[in-house]
């Protein structure tokens, strides 16, 4: 990543993170939220289309989810919430305003701990949360071509009215990398709560406020991917620093992030905060939420930090493994299910290092993968490995085969001939290799250590990886010694 060189003193970043909540219906109307694979404008009604006379009614579950998020982020939940109208004209808002919150949001003053420096440094940083509030998602604009060359925009209101929880941080982040780590942590927490699905397209969208060296801040809008955050911020820091270096000033302005080109563009907006003319939404009455807090607090599950500490204590695994295993709730659950039935340490290595690597390589999530490889399958594979029925290479091959084509471990072992060979068969292979490679054997006897590796390699080739290299090593030495 490009964050090196931009990670210097004086960088202040605050984020406004918008996360779609997994309710069945929209925030103010009963349209389904399951729109991701649908034709445009098929999950729309009079309310989310902003037709005259339609009345919004608040979805209680959305409010409960919002409170849950606030509590998980250590916020103070407020006694009563009020919705406001934020007025501006843009085609993604059919009503000419967005229903959001202003004064009286769901919660204030939280805290999220992140581990800076994923490279083993493990320095903990505290990022303060300013507020958590609810709002409706605007519609989606589609441009033919790029945003600045398209002649018109196409509007799909399926997304209009999806409940969003907005999480606003204080400007406590110090680098683009920290911003990415923070977002990862936030995603992790939201998924633990079961209120968010980060893999869905557009599930998390971020606006960032950023300043350099105490100068004016620019707001970068439209960051819609986790990688995009780091890239957009790095670009923006470089842009601001170049201005300062040339003796120019950074203007306070709103900029649009162009994901394709990785740059930010001035939106030359003439709108300011007071132009939004926030006022209480007359169609929605205040909602008292104090009474819900106790009940919702009891629903909060073990969160990533606690789970990490417990994994280290309970399974005696390393901090790195615990980090890797607890980031995604689905991986954490998979690990625990397997670890409870076999060697927990061995399991940590095979889930955190091998399985996660294979998932990353295939760009699939654990949720997706668990349809092809179950915890029981994984227990079988690890037990075979422990008993020497298969080699490490064989185990890896079974995992790959199951992810790519399905099947079960026993079947794959049979079909691909992955069962480890017994010592008689290995001895046969070793003796054959010694006989066929006289020159190498002589080299080894003459003190050339590399010759041994060559011989071991030949045996591995002959046995198609079904022997354990360490044992082949031992046996080759033994046989040459004789």
């Amino acid at each position: 990543m490009k964050s090196k060189g931009t990670n210097t003193n004086g960088v202040k970043i605050g984020l406004e993170c918008h996360a779609q909540l997994l309710t069945k219906s929209k925030l103010f109307c009963p349209c389904s939220t399951d729109y991701h694979n649908s034709e445009p404008n098929t999950h729309v009604c009079a309310t989310c289309l902003g037709l005259p006379g339609a009345l919004p009614v608040v979805n209680e579950q959305a409010i409960r989810y919002g409170i849950k998020v606030a509590l998980a982020l250590g916020c103070e939940v407020q006694p009563e919430i009020i919705f406001y109208r934020k007025n501006y004209y843009y085609p993604d808002l059919p009503k000419g305003f967005q229903i959001t919150q202003y004064d009286f949001p769901i919660a204030l003053n939280g805290l999220v701990r992140i581990e800076n420096a994923g490279d083993g440094g493990g320095k903990e940083r505290e990022i303060r949360i300013r507020r958590v509030h609810m709002e409706e998602d605007p519609g989606r604009l589609v441009y033919k071509g790029t945003i600045d060359t398209a002649k018109y925009s196409l509007v799909d209101y399926n997304r209009s009215g999806i409940p969003l929880v907005e999480i606003v941080t204080e400007p406590d982040l110090r680098s683009p990398k920290e911003a990415r780590i923070f977002l990862g942590k936030l995603r992790s927490i939201l998924e633990y709560l079961g209120v968010f699905e980060g893999d869905l397209e557009g599930a998390m969208r971020v606006d960032a406020n950023i300043s350099v060296g105490g100068g004016e801040r620019a707001e970068v809008k439209n960051i819609s991917s986790y990688k995009g955050v780091e890239r957009a911020l790095s670009f923006e820091i470089t842009r601001q620093k170049n201005l300062l270096r040339r003796g120019l000033v950074v203007k306070q302005e709103t900029r649009h992030y162009d994901e394709v080109r990785g740059i930010t563009i001035s939106m030359r907006t003439k709108e300011f905060e007071h132009d939004y003319r926030y006022f209480p939404e007359p169609d929605l009455v205040p909602i008292r939420i104090s009474d819900l807090v106790g009940e919702i607090r009891r629903e909060i599950p073990e969160l990533p930090d606690e789970k990490k500490r417990r994994f280290i204590a309970q399974y005696s695994i390393t901090r790195e493994h615990a980090n890797a295993l607890t980031f995604d709730i689905n991986i954490a659950n998979f690990y625990e299910e397997v670890a409870s039935k076999t060697d927990a340490k061995l399991c940590a290595t095979w889930v955190a290092d091998v399985l996660k690597g294979e998932l990353n390589y295939r760009a699939i999530s654990m949720r997706e993968a668990s349809k092809r490889i179950s915890a029981e399958d994984f227990v079988v594979i690890l037990n075979y490995l422990k008993r020497g029925v298969i080699t490490e290479r064989g185990a890896t091959e079974i995992i790959r085969e199951m992810l790519d084509r399905g099947g079960n471990p026993d079947e794959i072992i049979r079909k691909k001939g992955l069962a480890s060979i017994d010592s008689a068969e290995m001895e046969k292979a070793v003796l054959a290799v010694i006989k066929e490679n006289k020159a190498a054997v002589d080299d080894f006897k003459a003190g050339k250590k590399e010759a041994l590796n060559f011989l071991v390699g030949q045996v591995m080739k002959k046995t198609r990886g079904r022997a354990t290299p360490q044992e082949v090593h031992r046996m080759v030495r033994e046989k040459i010694g004789e």
Partner: protein, 93 residues
């Protein structure tokens, strides 16, 4: 008193084009509305709770459940311009 530039800005916020005559008209009308609020400003509201809603009802919510939406053709029926199931709108930045 409200200035002409403010009238123009308000027009821009509403994306409404105003003629010179309209600007003068709205300048007069909005000024008189603001003058009236200036009268209200004279009231002492020190010990009065702010009013956020004029009806005394609270806590109106509904259960989370999805119902059938309108059909795409119905949704687009009032659209002056459409394309491939989308509303077509001027490009804005």
């Amino acid at each position: 008193m409200i200035r002409k530039e403010e009238i123009e800005h308000i027009g821009w916020l509403a994306r409404i084009e105003l003629s010179e005559a309209e600007k003068e008209l709205f300048e007069r009308q909005l000024s008189s509305i603001l003058d009236y609020f200036a009268v209200l400003d004279e009231l002492d509201t020190e010990d009065v709770e702010p009013t956020y809603h004029v009806i005394g009802i609270k806590d109106v919510v509904r259960e989370d459940g999805a119902k059938e939406a309108l059909s795409q053709s119905e949704v687009l029926r009032n659209a002056p311009k459409k394309e491939e199931g989308y509303f077509k709108s001027p490009r804005m930045l």
